[in-house]
């Protein structure tokens, strides 16, 4: 028992140092820009870079659009499958897992061939078309996470009974979906939204190959050309990921404390 506990602590110490040292290294490096003293110069340099603000803003916008359109696609689909088409559930679940199986770079390769300027649907022919395509590609990437989060939330509230109750009270479809279902699966929607946010903010492959000025390619560009700014950006990116995951935890905890009453 004692040896076991000692082993556990050793494992945790090794794991923790593996996790923490690179973070410390990054943080330390990001403060080293001024010779001989720690400073926030690298951060200042990053924040004053107009490209940082533009790409960050672009990716934020993309993330928000991805979340909105993704949820408009995923929530009704998950609902419909649970309510009316339980027999296709395995198929839908399999499809939602495909983006984990097919590497992102393969998917975007397909887009570039299928939607190039000489095809029937020349999405890459115009800026707005490419932006749309990028948003759809982000929706594809986040599909496994969004669908799982929403579907789990729907299982918890038993949508069928909820719908029948609403129908028996005379509610119409839009009312049922937006007043009964959406609010009750909010925890799932929010968890899916935050993880999507984290994915989109750091995504590199899709944006780089579609040539859009997103945050991921910008990070890569800075990494190739500057010394200290990349570390500052890594710290910022880590903070964003941490924030998203923290919000997911918060949402699920909030949901737990509310659900017994609901």
């Amino acid at each position: 028992m004692k040896a076991q506990r000692l082993g556990a602590w050793i494992a945790i110490a090794i794991g923790a140092s593996y996790f923490i040292i690179p973070l410390l290294g990054t943080l330390e490096f990001s403060l080293r820009m001024r010779r001989g003293a720690y400073s926030f110069d690298a951060y200042q340099s990053v924040f004053s870079d107009i490209q940082f603000r533009e790409t960050f803003g672009y990716s934020m916008l993309m993330a928000v659009l991805t979340i909105i359109f993704g949820m408009l696609l995923v929530v009704p689909t998950a609902y419909w499958v649970r309510l009316r088409l339980p027999q296709v559930r395995p198929v839908v679940e399999f499809v939602t897992l495909l983006p984990l199986v097919i590497p992102a770079i393969v998917i975007v390769f397909g887009y570039l061939r299928l939607y190039n300027s000489s095809s029937i649907l020349p999405l890459t022919g115009s800026t707005s078309g490419t932006n749309t395509l990028l948003m759809f590609s982000y929706m594809t990437l986040s599909l496994p996470y969004m669908y799982r989060a929403v579907d789990t939330a729907m299982r918890a509230i038993d949508v069928r009974t909820l719908t029948e109750a609403a129908e028996s009270l005379g509610a119409k479809w839009p009312t049922i979906l937006f007043r009964c279902i959406f609010p009750n699966v909010m925890s799932g929607v929010l968890s899916g939204a935050f993880i999507t946010f984290a994915i989109v903010m750091g995504e590199f492959t899709m944006a780089a190959l579609l040539n859009r000025p997103a945050f991921g390619p910008y990070l890569q560009l800075v990494g190739a050309n500057k010394a200290y700014e990349p570390s500052a950006l890594a710290v910022i990116a880590f903070a964003i990921t941490w924030l998203s995951m923290g919000l997911i935890q918060l949402v699920s905890r909030f949901q737990k404390s509310v659900s017994p009453k609901a």
Binding site: Q4, F29, T77, P103, I107, L219
Partner: protein
Amino acid sequence: MTTTTAAAPLISKRAVIDWLGIAPFAIFALMFLIVPTLYLVTGAFLTPEGAFTFKNLADLFTPSIMSAYWISIRVSVASSLGGALIGFFLAWAIVLGGVPNWIRSGLLTFSGVASNFAGVPLAFAFLSTLGRTGLVTVFLRDWFGFNLYGTGFNLLSFFGLTITYMYFQIPLMVLILTPALDGLKKEWREAAEILGASTWQYWRMVALPILWPSLLGTTLLLFANAFGAIATAYALTGSSLNIVPILLYAQIRGDVLHNPNLGYALALGMIVITGISNILYIWLRMRAERWQK
């Protein structure tokens, strides 16, 4: 449900509505997931003129492409095995090691973050730590007079990429394996013990056989996860490390293979490898869940 007095025509109309309900999803999946993939898959079997051929697949077996696959597989295997091993011990420590609860919740929260902390920033983090002027490199040099790069170590190499990938592989293993370890019932251990089994016998005859589908399955998932990753490797090594995703990236940008259809074959190879490991993962998980009842 609603009334069904006007039987026959209503039912068929209802069926149409039922299927229309998932039409948006079906169209989305076809347009942005299935057709693009199928396009590449079929392209892999076609000549640039559109005739059927196996030549593209055969061309994959040229030394430069084979070496790309080989190094990709090696990095993926090494990082998934390393991630699985360390991840297993961490999960074991927080579930069965008798450590305080805050360590468990802290590690799980952190794993949620770290498993999603990949891509370009992860490369920066390791460059700042183990690069030529990174924290650990400098620390070892200044305090111990140890020249890390003198040993032949290079972050921009197979080994460097492997330990960088393990940064998201370990947490992923912890996240997936912790519930599996929680599923080991205390009574199994007690039943084995009271029947005379030692701790080692319990692990060998009961716990590990129960866990192995989860363990192996998760390792396969980690493998696929590493195999398809590109951003970290690209930001870390530029195009100096010849792994498949980077080769494909270069091919997409500039047709470096001078044959677009060979690019499709390259992509098909990736799909096949990640697909097989994912299918095995799903199969093993179903096996594991059968026992969890």
